[in-house]
Amino acid sequence: MRLLRYDRQYSRRHFLQAVRSGAVAGGVLMPLWDAIAQNGEAAKAYPEELQSLEAYTRGRLKAGDEIDAGNVELVKDLLEPIKYQQIARLGRRLKVVPTTQDIMRLSPWEYLEATVRNRGLARFDAQGNVVVEGGKPWIGGNPFPAPQTPVELFAGLTLSWGRHDASFYAIREYDLAASGEIEYEYESGWAEFSPVARVTLTPKPYWPGREDKLRYQSVFFVSPDSIKGTSFLNIWPYDQHQFPELYGYVAAFKRIRQFPTNQRFEPLIPGSTLYLSDAWAAGDPLYTWGNYRVVSRGPLLASVSGAWNAGHPNWQHNTHGGPKGKTFWDTQVEFVPEAIVVEAEPLKFPRAPVSRKRVWFDARTQLPIAMVSYDRRGEPYRSFDGAYALYESGARRVMDGQHPYWSWGHVHAFDIQTGRMTRLEQVRRISGGHDFKVNDPGIFDCYLTNAALMRLAAS
C-alpha cells in the first residue's frame, strides 16, 4: 500500500480556502508559475492526485477511456454543468487523453516565452488599463501569469485572444435545431490583429502610431449566397472602458455602414447562437463587465490538446451524439489539475439577455476552457466550450514560424434552454480562397480595413 503525502481532501481544502481568501494564483504545493519557470512543467505545483484522471478517480477512469452517460457520474465534479447535461442526456462522449505536461504545448511558443520574459512588468494604470513602467501599453505575453485578482485573469485574456500577433481563422459553422438536424451552414473568416503587445511581428512590441488601439478584428461570411459578403469590423481602443468601433457590410444594403458599438448580444446571422460578446469568453472590453469574482476552483476535464484533425485534408472534424449523431464534435479531454472559475456581470449592457457569465480558466495557461452564461432569471442559458490543439500529429504538422501552430480546433456554443447548438471548426480553407494564416502582416490589409470590407463584399 502506497501512502499519499497529500490526500484528496488536502487539495480540496486548499481550493476552498483559496476561494474563501480571494487568492487567485494557481498551484497547491507551490506557486504554479514558479514551478513552470523551473522546467516548463506544472507537475511540481500539484499533489499526485491532481496529476492525472487515473490518480484522481483512483483508477476508475484513465487516459484512453471514454466518458459517456454510463460513467459520467464518476467525473461529474470535473465537468461544467452544461457539459455534464450533454453527456448524461444528449449522448455526448469525451475521449480521455493523457494530461499535457509540457506547458509550451499549451499556447503559442512566442507568447509563452514573452510571458516568462515579461513576468512582473505589468500593472494597472489609474484607468485600470494594463501598462508597463512609464504607462505604455503592454509589451507581450500574459501580463499576469500568477494572477492576484480575477480582473487580472480577464485582463490577460482580453488583451490577447488567440495569443498570436495576427491570426486569420477559416471557419465552418453548423447551426443545429434541438431535433439534431443541421439547419444552417456557413463559411466565415475571423481575423485578429494586434498593434500592441506584439511578440512576433515587427515592429514590436508596438506598431507605431497605433498604440491607442488594442485590436483590429473582423468576421465575414463567404457562403451561402444570401449571406455572402456580410462582414463586421471591430476596432478596439486600448482603453478598456471604451466600446470598439463597429462597421459592417450588410449584403442587402450593398455598402459599408456604421453600427452601434454596443450591439454585442445580437445574432449576426440566422440560426446562430453566437454573439460577438462570446468571442474567447471575453468578447467585450474589460470594464463593460464587472463584479469579477472567483467562485470556485479545482480540477477539470477540458480539451486543451488534440483538437486538430490532421487526417482530413481541410482539417474538418467528425461528430456524434444528439438525436441524429450530429450534435457534438468528437472531443478529446485531458485532466487539468486546476481550473479557476470566475464570474462576471455585464455592467454596460442593461438590456443584454445574460445576467452573468462564469468562465473556467486553466490555471497553468490562463486559457478559457469553458464558459456558461445565465439568463436574467439566473437560469443556465448558454455554454461555450472550445478545444485547443498544437497542430502537430505524428509526422504531420502546421508550422508557425519556427514552431508548430497552436490554436483552437473546434467550439460548441449551446443554448440549453432551446436545445439549439452552434458548432464551429477551424479549417484550412474556406470558399473564396481564404486560407488560415498566422502572424502574417498582410492580414491587416486583407481583412481589417474599410477597404477590405468593401473588397470582401465582392459583387
Binding site: P260, T418, S431, G432, G433, S459
Partner: protein, 643 residues
C-alpha cells in the same frame, strides 16, 4: 384560380429541376478550372405578386377612359385666323367617344422565376474574377393589351420600335435607338433576361483594391433615399421600385463597365474612385406591369448617341470614432435622362372619313406633314382633351404648355395643319378635341429621351451618440448627407426641347437606433429619415409640373419637396423570423406602407412575404410623388432556394 395553379406549378417545377443541378462548390484543381481555386453559389427564387389595387393607368388596358363616354367639342380651324380658331367651341362637330381599348383585370401583376449564380475564380492571393449572372423568366399569362388588336384601326400603331409598340408587351427587352445592344452584357427578350450584375477582375494589394469590369457601385450611408448613391441608374423593369423596401435597390442598380479603385489612405480614410461607361436608368417597357410612361406616348430613347460616354467620380470617406465624414465629386451623365417632343416620322394621313380630316387633307396631303410633327394618327393614343389633361396632370406635365410646345416647336408643319398656339385652357381643350376628331379617334405622341452631363458634389457627416447605456439616446446613429448639382437638366413640363436648368440640392437626415425591448428578443432596428429636395421630387421630376388637375394646369410646388420615412425590423430569436415595416410619407398627402416578414426555416430556404399599400390620403393626388404608384397595392411572396 386555374391560372394561379398553373403558374405556381410551373415555377415549382422549374425550381425543382434546376436546384439539384446547381450544387454549391468550393473546389480546387478539378474540371474546367483545373489549377484554379473557385467558388460557385447562387439561388433560385419564384416571385409572385397578388394584385389588390387597380390596373396600371399608364398602360392601354388600365386607362380609366377605356369604355367611358367622353364628349369632344372641337373648335373651327380656319386658315389665316388661327388665333381665333379654337377659342370658340363648335358644337356642330362635337361627338362622344369611348376609348375603344378593353380594360384588364389581372389577379397578378408579376410572377417570375429568378435564378442567380456567382462564380469566383482566384488566380492568386491578389487577383480574382467575380462573375455573377442573373436570369429572370416571366411566363406571362397576363390579361394584357396586344397592339395587334387595334391593327384594323387606321393601320394600327405604326411608330416606334416594333418590338415594344406593335405587339404584346415586351417584359424585359431593352432597346434604344442607334444602339444595337444598350447594355453590352445583357440578353433579354419578351419573357426573359439574362445579365451580369457583376463580371469583373478584382485586384488587391495592400491598401489598394482595383476592380475592372461590369459592376454596381453603391455609395452613401442613407438607406432608401439616394443622395450619395449616384454612380448607377436604376433598372425599373421587373418589379420597379416595389420590392422589399429594406433591400434598398440591391437588385436595381444598373451595372456598368467600370474601373473602380479603392485605396485605404490611413486607418481612418478611404478613397474610392470610379470611371465607367455611362448606362442610363432603364424604365419598364410600354404596357408592362410597372410601366411609368403612359402608353399613349411612343418613346425614342436616344441612348445610341450617348453609349460612348463616360461618368467618373471620387469619394473620400473618413471614420474618426463617433464621427464619420464623406465627400464626393462626380462628373456624370444623369442616368434618368430627360424627355421632349420629337418628330414622329410616321407618314400617316389624317383620315378623310370625318369633316375635319377631310378639310385638312383638302388643304395639304397630311401624311408627310404629320411625320414632321410629334404626333401620329393611330389607335392607342389620346382620344379626348379630357384624357389629355388627366394624363398631363398625372405625369406632372402641363397640358396647355405641352400642346403649345408640340405646335410651336414643329412649325411650319403644325401650322400647315391649322394648329395654333392656345392662349387659354379652353382653347387648348377645343384644339385638342379638334385634332383627335380629325385624326379619326386618337393621336399618339412621340417623345425623345436624351441625357445631359452634370456635376454632383456631396458632403456627409455621421455621429454616434453616447448616453446612459440602454437608454433611447445611447448609440443613436445620426447621418446627414447632402448633394448639390448646378444646372441640372430637367424635363420641361411642356415637353419642350428647351429643358429646364436649375441648381438642385438633395439632403437627407437619417437616424438609426437598435433597441432591445426585452431580453428575449434581439434588438429592434429603427430608422427615421427625412429628405428635402429643392427642385425635384423623389423620382427626379421637376416640381414645376406638380399641382395640375383634369381641369387646370399645374401650379408647381414652391419650397421644394419633402419626404419622411419610418421603418423597423424586428428579428426573432436566432433571426429565423424577421418582421419588418416601412412607411414613406409625402407631406402633400402621399403614403406608402409596407409590412413584411422574412422566414428562414433552414439554410437553403428563405420565404418572404410583404404587402405594399400606396394611396393619397388627402389633397390633390398630383401634389404628391407617391400617387404615381398608387395602382401598385399588392402582396408579394418570394420563395428562395440557395445552393
Amino acid at each position: 384560380m386555374k391560372r394561379l395553379e398553373k403558374t405556381l406549378l410551373a415555377m415549382a417545377t422549374g425550381a425543382a429541376l434546376l436546384g439539384p443541378a446547381l450544387a454549391s462548390a468550393q473546389e480546387e484543381s478539378q474540371g474546367w478550372f483545373s489549377g484554379l481555386d473557385y467558388t460557385l453559389g447562387g439561388f433560385i427564387r419564384p416571385e409572385l405578386v397578388f394584385k389588390t389595387g387597380d390596373e396600371n393607368p399608364n398602360n392601354q388596358d388600365g386607362n380609366p377612359y377605356n369604355g367611358r363616354s367622353v364628349q369632344r367639342v372641337p373648335g373651327t380651324p380656319v386658315p389665316g385666323v388661327n388665333a381665333l380658331s379654337f377659342e370658340i367651341p363648335n358644337p356642330l362637330l362635337a361627338d362622344t367617344i369611348a376609348r375603344p381599348i378593353a380594360s384588364s383585370d389581372n389577379w397578378t401583376s408579376y410572377h417570375i422565376l429568378r435564378g442567380e449564380l456567382e462564380l469566383g475564380l482566384h488566380f492568386n492571393a491578389d487577383l480574382g474574377l467575380v462573375a455573377r449572372v442573373r436570369g429572370i423568366y416571366d411566363p406571362g399569362h397576363y390579361d394584357e393589351f396586344d397592339a395587334r388588336s387595334v391593327a384594323d384601326d387606321r393601320g394600327g400603331i405604326s411608330g416606334g420600335d416594333p418590338a415594344l409598340y406593335q405587339g404584346k408587351p415586351n417584359y424585359f427587352a431593352y432597346h434604344a435607338e442607334g444602339s444595337g445592344k444598350p447594355n453590352p452584357l445583357e440578353w433579354s427578350g419578351r419573357n426573359y433576361m439574362v445579365y451580369f450584375p457583376a463580371l469583373f477582375f478584382d485586384f488587391n494589394h495592400g491598401p489598394l483594391n482595383v476592380r475592372l469590369g461590369n459592376q454596381q457601385i453603391a455609395w452613401g450611408q442613407a438607406l432608401f433615399f439616394r443622395v450619395f448613391d449616384v454612380p448607377n441608374g436604376l433598372d425599373l423593369r421587373r418589379h420597379s421600385i416595389l420590392d422589399y423596401a429594406q433591400e434598398e435597390y440591391s437588385d436595381k442598380r444598373v451595372p456598368s463597365l467600370a474601373l473602380r479603385v479603392g485605396y485605404q489612405i490611413t486607418d481612418e480614410l478611404l478613397a474610392d474612385a470610379y470611371f465607367q461607361k455611362f448606362q442610363p436608368t432603364v424604365f419598364g417597357n410600354p404596357n408592362t406591369a410597372y410601366n411609368v410612361i403612359p402608353a399613349q406616348f411612343t418613346v425614342h430613347d436616344l441612348y445610341g448617341n450617348y453609349d460612348n460616354k463616360f461618368s467618373y467620380g471620387l469619394r473620400l470617406k473618413g471614420n474618426y470614432g463617433q464621427w464619420g465624414f464623406q465627400a464626393m465629386a462626380v462628373r456624370r451623365y444623369n442616368p434618368d435622362g430627360v424627355f421632349r417632343w420629337t418628330a414622329s416620322g410616321v407618314d400617316k394621313a389624317l383620315p378623310s372619313s370625318n369633316p375635319l380630316g377631310l378639310v385638312e387633307n383638302t388643304l395639304h396631303p397630311t401624311g408627310p406633314i404629320m411625320a414632321q410633327t410629334a404626333f401620329e394618327a393611330s389607335p392607342g393614343g389620346v382620344y379626348s382633351a379630357d384624357e389629355w389633361f388627366h394624363y398631363a396632370a398625372m405625369v406632372r406635365l402641363d397640358g396647355v404648355a405641352g400642346l403649345n410646345a408640340g405646335i410651336d416647336e414643329f412649325q411650319p408643319a403644325t401650322g400647315q395643319l391649322l394648329a395654333s398656339h392656345a392662349d387659354t385652357f379652353n382653347a387648348a381643350h377645343n384644339e385638342l378635341d379638334t385634332f383627335f376628331i380629325a385624326a379619326g379617334g386618337s393621336l399618339r405622341g412621340h417623345i425623345a429621351r436624351e441625357y445631359f452631363q452634370e456635376n454632383v458634389f456631396g458632403l456627409g457627416a455621421s455621429y454616434v451618440t453616447e448616453g446612459e447605456p440602454g437608454s433611447i439616446l445611447d448609440q443613436l446613429i445620426i447621418n446627414l448627407e447632402t448633394s448639390y448639382t448646378p444646372n441640372r437638366v430637367f424635363t420641361n413640363p411642356s415637353l419642350s426641347r428647351n429643358y429646364l436648368r436649375e441648381g438642385n440640392s438633395i439632403s437627407a437626415l437619417v437616424m438609426e437606433k437598435y433597441y432591445r425591448f426585452t431580453q428575449a428578443f434581439p434588438a429592434t432596428y429603427f430608422v427615421f429619415q427625412a429628405m428635402h429636395r429643392t427642385k425635384d421630387d423623389l423620382f427626379g421630376r421637376s416640381l414645376k409640373g406638380y399641382g395640375g388637375t383634369d381641369t387646370s394646369v399645374p401650379t408647381g410646388l414652391s419650397g421644394g419637396s419633402n419626404y419622411l420615412v419610418f421603418a423597423f425590423q424586428q428579428p426573432f430569436p436566432q433571426d429565423i423570423y424577421r418582421a419588418a415595416f416601412a412607411a414613406l410619407y409625402d407631406p402633400k398627402g402621399g403614403l406608402l406602407l409596407q409590412p413584411g416578414i422574412k422566414w428562414k426555416p433552414s439554410g437553403p430556404w428563405t420565404i418572404e412575404a410583404f404587402y405594399t399599400y400606396i394611396d393619397t390620403v388627402y389633397g390633390n393626388p398630383n401634389n404628391n410623388a407617391l400617387s404615381t404608384a398608387k395602382f401598385a397595392n399588392e402582396g408579394t411572396i418570394r420563395v428562395g432556394y440557395q445552393f
